[in-house]
Point group: C2
Chain length 84, copies 2
Amino acid sequence: MALLDYFRSTKSNTASLAKERLQIIVAHERNSRHSPDYLPQLKQDILDVIAKYVKITDNNVSVEFDQTDDLAVLELNVTLPDHK
Amino acid sequence: MALLDYFRSTKSNTASLAKERLQIIVAHERNSRHSPDYLPQLKQDILDVIAKYVKITDNNVSVEFDQTDDLAVLELNVTLPDHK
C-alpha cells in the first residue's frame, strides 16, 4: 500500500521520544456543489470515537483543515504518552 | 498542507464519472508493543459514524489494512453516487 510508505516517510520526530501517535485523515472529494458538506460534524464524531480508546485533552490533539473547490481534507493528530 | 497535494495527486478516475468519494485513513504509530491495538474496533466505530452521513453498502466500501512493527495504516474508501 503506497500509503504505508507515505506515513513511514513522514513519521514524526516524536518517535525518538517514544511517543505513540494516532493520525486520522479524512478526504472528501465532491464533484458537485450540491453534495452535502458534513465534514465539520464528522470531525466531532470521529473525535468522540477516538476518545473511547485514547485520552484526549486540549493539549494532545491538533486539527488541520484545508479545501479546494472539489476536495476537502481534514487531518487529526493525537499524540499520546507511550504505554510502557 | 502537504496532504492536500497528496490527495489531489491521487484523485481517482471516478472523478470523471461525477462520483463523490470519501476516504478515511488512520495511521497508528506505536513505539512499544505494550501499546494497545484498538484499530480493528476503531475501524468499525468509524464505519458506524460514516453511515450517519452516507449510505454504506457492501459494494461501495473498500477497506485496506497494512502494518509494520511500529506503524499500522487503515484505509477506508467509500464511493457514492453524485448528488445532482
